[in-house]
């Protein structure tokens, strides 16, 4: 996912004043940008990366990358949108370097539904408790879901986060990960199925008849 190539924000843009001060090298403007956008960028990095240290590193790298690329910001998108893309890219770079260093991952197959030879599900799916699916209010439930997302193999987890949480389009996700659109769709579907399988024992209505 690349930043836009052209360089002049519209004078009408709400970001135009700040951009002009940043381009003029005004120290206070940089601090203002970090204070205004840093929290949201850190939230994105925390969703994509597994440790607080990595998340803060990625945000620092994202800001430095943004400062260097200020001339490329064209004002067609909001400054926050542009910074969001740069943050996602910084997180992906970090994940790539970790993957090169990391050991073998668990296979996605162990989390996917199993079928009999005739194509029926090996184990019948039961309905979930409605109270658990309407909204996430309890910290315990949030922690459980986050832990299960973290159990997904990395290459599936990152597609799930980009598509379902960060709401990148399939095309944007494909570009960011250097994959085909069809490969993103397949990986997203498997990631959702795997997460469903991991959550099922916790959310299944045990006394369900069907």
């Amino acid at each position: 996912m690349s930043a836009p190539e052209t360089s002049e924000p519209s004078a009408d843009s709400p970001d135009a004043g700040l951009i002009a001060r940043l381009r003029a090298g005004e120290d206070a403007a940089f601090d203002e940008l970090v204070a205004a956008a840093g929290g949201r960028m850190l939230a994105v990095a925390r969703r994509m990366l597994r440790t607080e240290e990595d998340a803060q590193d990625a945000v620092q790298e994202a800001f430095l990358s943004a400062f260097k690329s200020l001339d490329k910001f064209d004002g067609r998108s909001q400054l926050t949108t542009w910074l969001h893309r740069i943050t996602v890219n910084a997180c992906l770079m970090k994940l790539r370097s970790q993957r090169r260093r990391g050991g073998p991952e668990r296979q996605i197959d162990e989390f996917l539904p199993e079928f009999l030879e005739d194509g029926h599900q090996r184990t019948s799916s039961k309905p979930w408790k409605p109270t658990q699916t309407g909204g996430i209010e309890q910290q315990e439930t949030r922690d459980l879901v986050r832990a299960k997302i973290d159990e997904l193999p990395e290459q599936y987890r990152v597609v799930l986060v980009l598509r379902d949480i960060e709401e990148l389009s399939t095309e944007q996700t494909a570009e960011a990960l250097d994959m085909t659109v069809n490969a993103v769709k397949t990986r997203l579907h498997r990631a959702r199925q795997a997460l469903r399988g991991l959550l099922d024992p916790h959310f299944r209505a045990e006394d369900a008849l069907s």
């Binding site: 090298g25 939230a43 925390r46 539904p113 029926h120 799916s125 039961k126 996430i136 997302i149 949480i165």
Partner: protein, 90 residues
Amino acid sequence: MINPHSKPYMTCHEVLDFLMSYIDGELTPAQLGEFDRHLGVCPSCVNYIDSYKATIRIGKSALANTDDSAAGSVPRELIKAIRAARLKGS
């Protein structure tokens, strides 16, 4: 009595493989008809689809809440580190 000439149903495996296309509205009317025909006789797949959709909602809610607590608060050390790295690089 089973009619030997009736069209076979899609299998659960096929239904779950094409589930995302079903949810995204990407199936042709004919495929959609086959899908719905299967769901009419298979409560297990109906349950699966409901829980698949719930998974998307739950995952989103669980991580989106991170935003509420984090937005607007940048650790002081991080602000200092960003400032120092910028000044070092400029």
